[in-house]
Subunit: 413 residues, 2 copies
């Protein structure tokens, strides 16, 4: 039982005291703000502000700022960075772009201020500039270079240079969208799990509304963890909160739906912690699932639920899925740096027409099961139709209907 | 002096007894050949036969055959494979392609025979088939997916499936081109270095004729190693012997040139071992330089010479170099798995018109130096012109002139 007793002391791989926290203590804020106000500044776009948030709270521990060229090369080539000769998972480049004009202006500065909408968020020390090889970055990160991929489009819209360096952050970014209270930092999450007396924390990365098939899986997972001897498994619902592509369901709608279903008890008696993950999506499949797992491990997850084709999408040429559906899971299994977290495979649940509820697929009576795809669900919601009874918590469903109604006529579903 | 005394026992990172040798002992050959003759077979193309040679002799230790899907994913994602939880450098996928028809015919077979031109070279046990995602393989390996890249063209000409599994090789591949005696295995090279009493082996990967600027660098390197206390530094000239693109100088011409310059003593009193590296080129820049270093480390190199833009080429779109000139060196420095070998940076030598010989570039009198590029050299050789005195050993030069004369009219230079 050694492993279990260790879990009581330290959730996941990074104990709270070892998490990188780049936010200055409250008593140091005024001094930093005063000095930052005198510095030359560089603007962060919205997506870069989200990465700053990720860095600030230690989701990307041990990174201390936007990647330098060495860190960037290690990340793009190895999907790890090298720290004291050790390989630490870092599958996604976390970088700041700038233009040639900005580089020329800021080269040689001791420090620069990082701003968004005119507000100073952070100070970057000893900024170092390096060329932004956009095609190569896309190819290494995604295995394609097609600008029809939404994040590759972001890469190409960025400047021709990258700038890296350690940062000090003035305060936790807030978004004033009514959801800031759900943006718990890794340290806050670890404290919450401890307060709940959790001896296992199973994380569920979300970018979609939760239906009763998901709920069934979560209840089943909690039961299995108890069978393994865990006394207090806690479910961490972890919706991705940063940039997503246009046709994904927006965070606000998803959060409203999550609140409704938690309130209505669809997860049974398992304690649920709802905490937004502030990262942007990159739609990077096997690379990105490692990022999603690593960041949750840093925040205290001991178990990680992984399904088919995580963080995948259609190839921009429309012919096929961009990634093989099991490569994501394979890469998670093969990454020694993530081995402190146990993988829980996602069992496929679909609508059992005989039982009138979501159930684990039974190949012996496959004619009884009906698959309700995301696009079918979107069409039903847009038409105000009800799904089969038992597909989704009715209050949660109404929230989706309202969202898709609001879209009607604005874009194709 | 601990590290040095270790070098006497074991050159490089892999001692001879730990090198993977997939060639069966002579007394087991007849039995394997007899059983192999009864198996279904799969043909290797010329490039795949070269990879088989690489695998057979342990250049890619610890690989025991063409990569399985897990090894392939680890290599393409991590540039390493994972062995007992440890990261082992393996930056280049070493794979065998096949068509859908071949896969359908061979799936489920316990063993298959690998052939080339009708001759059985090896037996693959428990072959496992997996999809060949050609675009993704290119993107992750090269950072581009452009089919104008000569190795990406090879990838696209391959079958839609890959097949991996451990192999037993009947005998060392021979090519009957008059150069087989120079194709020393890693174990033979280690023995040769030991016989010479080497306490340092500095490897020079070659894909071009050697001019006196290279010779100057080699002499300088030997002198520096002696200054560091090494008594018997040995130079290992290691020309790449496998597939190269059409406009590279062919192996036979290069070897003739190398033999001439060694005979004429241009490396001074440093002992020289000439041993062909049987690998194909992939023109993979920062990935490939790691492969070139790792394979030489396995064969006994203790020091590795690395220049600008190793294994690089022009972007197929013709606009620029495909890779940043220092990224290859940076990746070598950043790979902890290669740290047992010391890196020796390549100092740039060019023609010193005042001294009438190749010399290290002196920025204080840059007007005295004349750069003789590869394309300038090719044009001079094709026209039967003599280069400036002291640029290259005259006998070596004549060999190049003969080669380029033979090409005249066949293709553009």
């Amino acid at each position: 039982m050694l492993a279990r007793s260790v879990l009581f002391v330290c959730f996941g791989a990074v104990a709270a005291q070892d998490l990188i926290n780049l936010i200055v203590p409250p008593d140091a804020k005024a001094a930093l703000a005063a000095s930052a106000g005198k510095l030359d500044s560089l603007a962060l776009n919205e997506e870069e502000l989200q990465w700053l948030h990720v860095l600030a709270e230690g989701w990307a521990t041990p990174l201390k700022g936007f990647m330098t060229e060495e860190e960037y090369l290690q990340s793009t080539h190895f999907e790890h960075i090298i720290v004291d000769g050790q390989y630490v998972p870092m599958p996604v480049p976390i970088v700041k772009t700038c233009t040639t004009e900005e580089k020329d202006k800021l080269t040689g500065k001791e420090s620069i201020a990082l701003t968004h909408n005119g507000k100073i968020y952070a100070v970057m020390k000893s900024p170092s500039f390096y060329e932004h090889f956009k095609e190569e970055r896309a190819g290494r990160t995604f295995g394609i270079t097609d600008k029809g991929h939404p994040y590759i489009e972001i890469i190409h819209n960025g400047g021709d240079w990258l700038v890296g360096g350690e940062i000090q952050v003035l305060e936790k970014p807030v978004y004033n969208d009514g959801m800031d209270q759900w943006r718990l930092s890794p340290a806050e999450l670890q404290a919450e799990f401890k307060k709940l007396g959790a001896d296992a924390v199973f994380a569920f990365q979300l970018r979609n509304p939760v239906h009763n098939g998901h709920a069934l899986l979560m209840q089943d997972t909690a039961a299995k963890l108890k069978e393994q001897g865990y006394k207090k498994p806690v479910l961490w619902l972890s919706p991705l909160g940063g940039w997503t592509k246009d046709d994904d369901v927006p965070l606000k709608t998803r959060m409203d739906q999550h609140h409704a279903i938690i309130k209505n008890g669809i997860f049974g008696d398992t304690p649920v912690v709802l905490g937004i993950f502030p990262s942007p999506m990159i739609y990077g499949g096997p690379r990105e699932v490692q990022w999603h797992a690593k960041s949750r491990m840093n925040a205290g997850a001991t178990h990680y639920i992984v399904g088919r084709d995580p963080a995948g999408m259609k190839h921009p040429d429309g012919t096929k899925d961009l990634y093989h559906m099991w490569h994501g899971q394979t890469m998670l299994k093969n990454n020694p740096g993530l081995a402190k977290m146990k993988l829980l495979p996602f069992h496929f649940a679909s609508y059992d027409t005989k039982a009138g509820k979501m159930a684990f697929f039974d190949p012996k009576r496959k004619e009884d099961f009906q698959s309700i795809s995301g696009s079918k669900m979107r069409k039903m919601a847009a038409n105000g139709e009800s799904p089969p009874a038992g597909f989704m918590d009715p209050e949660g469903w109404k929230i989706l209907v309202a969202y898709y109604k609001s879209l009607a006529g604005k874009k194709e579903l």
